[in-house]
């Protein structure tokens, strides 16, 4: 049986892992230590912990969007991106929209108009960063 454990908050995440382990131990106590094989591995961590100290890079992307009349939609990802791991490897990496909808299936589509906006956001980030430094 496979379980995945997810929590945005690091200490609650540790609590959840302990809970799973406690339940495993309860089964072991009742049915013997060989009744359960248990293996638990961390996969990735919330990148917020590594991006918060350099929050200005989020502000930079937000500013670039606002300059282009795009309303930034800042929400936690219910999943991981490469940025979660990269941020822990020393490269703080927030994630920006592409303009696509319904990823991973046959109903996936994308607006070219919004692709253009994403490309413009990239250009604008580079421009503002030079101007403000």
């Amino acid at each position: 049986m496979y379980y995945i454990i997810r929590d945005h908050d690091r200490s609650k995440f540790e609590d959840r892992k302990e809970l799973v382990e406690r339940f495993v131990n309860e089964i072991k106590e009742k049915y013997g230590k060989d009744s359960v094989l248990f293996n638990l591995n961390d996969q990735y961590y919330n990148m917020r912990d590594r991006i918060e100290p350099v929050k200005e890079i989020v502000e930079l992307a937000k500013q670039a969007m606002e300059n282009l009349d795009i309303e930034p939609v800042i929400e936690p990802i219910r999943g991981g991106t490469d940025g979660s791991q990269l941020s822990y490897m020393g490269l703080p990496t927030p994630n920006i929209f592409t303009g696509g909808e319904n990823f991973h299936g046959k109903y996936e589509y994308i607006s070219v108009d919004n692709m253009e906006k994403a490309a413009n956001v990239i250009v604008e980030i580079c421009r503002i960063f030079e101007e403000e430094n």
Partner: protein, 265 residues
């Protein structure tokens, strides 16, 4: 810019770059390396420097600074592979100009319809140029849209030298969908102060928070005894599993959580 985006994007999605969880190589599939080679040629063509694919299929390139100011390097990233959930072979992108906002038939024969009933955001794209699938494959906008956007943005900066910028680094990386993207990413070689992945969904998405994630594998072992003499001896592993599952709070399962609410599945 739109024509360039369409041209680049439709070229990339026609290449099959689905990753493979069961592969032990990096990249996990040869298609990803083929796309990396095509992109390396395009990066050179638009005038990017230090264009290099390393032995693991990570493509990196530099747009040199054109300002006298000493400013930190910004990175932009997208991934080469597409999802494994649905077929990504023979992608046949359909371009819908000036979308009328009504339901879109993707495939008449198979009766695949993109409908506002199922996808309420659809009518808001009225007037846009859309790119869809033909109803038989995924599209691969995740993440070839990101690649096309980064390419087009770099080409724009190169063609507009009046726009000043610092040193920019670009990377296109393999195997994001199978969770191995950053494993062999050489942060030192990339040499940027910070970066952005262009890998989100709808307009405006900006994300800097993700889950903390762990995976557990739990195997229950029963004890099989002839049912005639099983009293107090036989242990049914299925029953152990049920007893274990019932310990978890039902309200925290993913079908009951959203936003900042968290889950144990």
């Amino acid at each position: 810019m739109k024509d360039e985006l369409i041209k680049r994007f439709t070229t990339y999605v026609k290449m099959d770059t689905q990753s493979d969880e069961d592969s032990s190589t990096t990249p996990s599939t040869p298609g990803q390396l083929e796309l990396a080679k095509v992109l390396a040629a395009e990066l050179k063509e638009i005038g990017m420097e230090d264009v290099q694919i390393d032995e693991n299929g990570y493509l990196m390139a530099t747009l040199p600074s054109n300002t006298e100011k000493e400013i930190p390097t910004i990175g932009f990233l997208a991934h080469l592979d597409t999802a494994t959930d649905f077929t990504g072979k023979n992608v046949n992108p359909q371009i819908v100009d000036n979308f009328d906002g009504n339901d879109l038939t993707l495939n008449e024969e198979l009766n695949v319809v993109l409908s506002a009933k199922e996808f309420p955001e659809l009518p808001s794209y009225k007037g846009h140029t859309l790119i869809t699938t033909d109803g038989t494959t995924l599209l691969g906008a995740d993440n070839k849209a990101g690649i096309a956007e980064i390419m087009t943005a770099m080409n724009y900066l190169i063609n507009h030298p009046e726009m000043k910028h610092g040193r920019i680094r670009v990377a296109f990386t393999p195997d994001e969908e199978i969770g191995k993207g950053p494993h062999k990413f050489d942060v030192e070689r990339f040499d940027a102060a910070f970066a952005y992945t262009i890998d989100g969904g709808p307009l405006g998405e900006l994300q800097f928070e993700s889950f903390n994630a762990a995976a557990a594998k739990i195997t229950f072992k029963g004890n099989n005894v002839h049912p005639g003499t099983a009293k107090n001896k036989m242990v049914n592993s299925g029953k152990l599993a049920v007893e274990f599952i019932n310990k978890f709070p039902e309200k925290e399962a993913p079908e009951h959580t959203e936003g900042y609410e968290d889950s144990i599945i």
